[in-house]
């Protein structure tokens, strides 16, 4: 016998409500997760390498057997590649969306538009499914949950293109800015650069993820404050291993030493990985669904004066 006191009443026997957590876990493991991550930044900033390093697999477009692009595309292209990766019985369908051509031309006016269009198209796809009379059990989610924006490590300030992009897209997608190829800066230079970048973003009212306004409670706020104060993370990526102090580590070997990717004294890759994957992955999806998607949906509904469910017999005469 097991007596539970609950608000005055007495429950006799063990009900087993707490097992629901285990049931959920089992179900989730069976169904698996979807996660869609976009990388934006001009050519050569190590986007593909970083994504591969983050997920410890060859998941970027460049590794998917696509020929290494010899030419810079004239307009920004959107190229997505999906892989199913598994860890500890949990399956994740990871989609990496690459944006080759961004910022590479002499005239980069409006080069963010194809990206904005892609993000909205995924929202639209999801919305159409949601609004169907007979809906799929699980709507395939291609919405971009997170956009990693690669800042060039100039050591001075943000570039104009960086500001333009983040200004325009921070309201439709979670932007996580990172300082790429951070092994070009000393620790001091890095700190100064980060401070300047944060100040510039603040002055322009640009909010990167995790956005202050979406902090759920004090605990969240305190955790996220700490993270916001360290961002943008200064990262280094690598797919090569070297022997350091009898350990095999991922790193970059130069004439004056080995930069260890996962060494927190060298760069902030480990922090980024923990933040992105180990603590905030689910939150990124939730903010995308509850905030960015809802914003899009509300706008669409307003624009069309109402929403009528449509039939799925092929005639998509939606009044959307």
């Amino acid at each position: 016998l097991y007596i539970l006191f609950c608000g005055g009443s007495t429950l006799l026997g063990y009900i087993g409500i707490d097992t629901i957590i285990e049931q959920m876990r089992k179900k989730t493991m069976k169904t698996g997760f979807e996660f869609n991550i976009m990388v934006v930044g001009h050519s050569g900033l190590g986007k593909s390498t970083l994504v591969n390093t983050l997920f410890k697999s060859q998941v970027s477009r460049k590794s998917a057997g696509w020929a290494r692009d010899e030419k810079i595309p004239k307009t920004v292209e959107i190229k997505s590649v999906s892989h199913v990766i598994e860890e500890g019985g949990v399956k994740m369908k990871l989609t990496v969306v690459d944006t080759p051509g961004f910022g590479d031309q002499i005239n980069n006016d409006n080069c963010w538009e194809p990206i904005s269009k892609y993000i909205n198209e995924q929202f639209e796809k999801f919305l159409k499914e949601e609004v169907n009379i007979t809906r799929k059990k699980r709507i395939p989610d291609t919405r971009v949950h997170c956009c990693i924006y690669f800042i060039s490590p100039t050591g001075h300030t943000l570039r104009q293109l960086d500001m333009e992009f983040m200004k325009r897209l921070s309201h439709s997608v979670n932007i996580i800015p990172v300082i790429a190829k951070a092994d070009t800066m000393t620790i001091e230079e890095r700190q100064e650069f980060k401070q300047r970048v944060r100040k510039e973003l603040e002055m322009s009212g640009i909010e990167f993820y995790p956005q202050k306004e979406f902090d759920d409670d004090m605990e969240d706020k305190s955790d996220n404050d700490k993270i916001r104060e360290t961002m943008p993370f200064a990262v280094v990526g690598s797919d090569k291993e070297y022997q350091v102090n009898n350990k095999r580590v991922l790193g970059r070997k130069t004439a004056w030493g080995i930069v260890e990717v996962e060494n927190p004294n060298h760069c902030e890759f480990a922090q980024l990985r923990d933040f992105l994957i180990r603590s905030h992955l689910q939150d990124l999806k939730e903010v995308t669904h509850n905030i960015h998607y809802e914003t899009y949906r509300a706008k669409r509904l307003n624009d069309n004066g109402g929403l009528h469910p449509i039939s799925t017999n092929g005639t998509h005469d939606s009044n959307l």
Partner: protein, 351 residues
């Protein structure tokens, strides 16, 4: 009188009939040292490529002490500027008046169409000024503000030349000696540097960009010199690192950068090509850079100018001109000959 001279020369004549003009180079040297030298160096490339740091490292100066960095909002409407810093350097009795021409704003905007125009305009203006001075009446104190060399900083982050790099170099390669550099090379592994250099050299060829070529070694130089010269040429574009700070490395105080994983020494040849660049720019080829500027780039400009003027004159029928036009029977033919000659010179010097 004549017999006196004969007497004199007979008296002075030693066994080897030594006249004494072998001392001319020394005389030239002494006069030059007295007069001093001048050199104008332009630096171009986007913000944050380490241009100022490299200039300070090359000339052991601190030219940018009070510089204020603009933030992105302030830079929105900024156009490319041309800023000159002049510094007088003296070393072992030799004076150098060094002018650094900076080009802030280049390549920093969202739309960088023709962002090199202020730079080509500046170079042309200096040529034009010199042209006028040269054709003028008081030629004793001509100021030579022509740009002798342009260091172009290519970012190390890319996979080779970007469109803006190609366009910039093509707009300038017939006006100034371009020396392309790989900036901030300390973020690249030795392998990556080699790949990038190969790629850049390939693309320079492919796009027909005429960067500054080191003159051929004299055939009578010794083997060691020839070998060094060969190595220098195969090392381009130089991968450079600069530093404004002194660090302690291997028991010495050197210019360098301190990272958690090691110390980069600017003057260590196994770390970067800074020493090669400095030696080439200052210690061996400074004079040649000036010569090529005067003999090739300036002469091209001048020939073009004259052709334009004479064709304009033929149209206008005016007799006013800053240059005394000799009575030419068919001015066009002669000018064309001049241009053809200069073209051949250019081809010869630039290959």
């Amino acid at each position: 009188y004549i017999s006196n001279l004969q007497f004199l020369s007979m008296k002075i004549k030693p066994e080897k009939q030594y006249v004494g003009f072998a001392t001319l180079p020394n005389q030239v040297h002494r006069k030059s040292v007295k007069k001093g030298f001048d050199f104008t160096l332009m630096v171009a490339g986007e913000s944050g490529m380490g241009k100022s740091t490299l200039v300070n490292s090359l000339f052991l100066t601190d030219l940018y002490k009070d510089r204020k960095l603009l933030n992105a909002e302030e830079r929105i409407n900024q156009t490319v500027e041309i800023i000159k810093h002049t510094v007088d350097i003296e070393e072992k009795g030799v004076k150098l008046k060094l002018t650094i021409v900076d080009t802030p704003g280049f390549g920093d905007a969202v739309n960088n169409n023709e962002c090199w125009k202020p730079i080509t305009d500046y170079i042309d203006q200096q040529f034009e000024q010199y042209f006028r001075d040269e054709s003028g009446l008081n030629r004793k104190n001509i100021q030579d503000n022509r740009v002798h060399c342009c260091l172009y900083f290519i970012p190390p982050f890319g996979h080779g030349l970007r469109p803006v790099d190609v366009e910039f170099m093509k707009a300038l390669h017939e006006k100034v000696n371009i020396i392309p550099l790989i900036a901030k090379a300390d973020c690249l592994t030795p392998n990556e540097i080699k790949k990038l250099k190969d790629r850049i050299r390939e693309e320079i060829d492919k796009f027909g960009i005429k960067v500054y070529q080191f003159p051929e070694c004299d055939s009578d130089e010794d083997e060691e010199f020839k070998q060094l010269d060969k190595e220098l040429k195969e090392c381009t574009p130089f991968a450079v690192i600069g530093s404004n700070t002194v660090v302690e490395a291997r028991g010495q105080r050197v210019r360098g950068r301190l990272y958690p994983w090691g110390i980069v020494e600017v003057e260590n040849q196994s770390h970067c090509d800074f020493v090669k660049l400095r030696n080439m720019l200052i210690r061996s080829h400074m004079h040649d850079l000036k010569d090529v500027t005067c003999d090739v780039h300036y002469e091209n400009y001048r020939a073009q100018c004259i052709q334009e003027m004479t064709s304009k004159l033929a149209q206008d029928n005016r007799m006013e001109s800053p240059i005394p036009i000799l009575p030419l029977s068919t001015p066009d033919v002669d000018t064309e000959k001049l241009i053809k000659m200069k073209d051949e010179e250019v081809c010869k010097d630039v290959i």
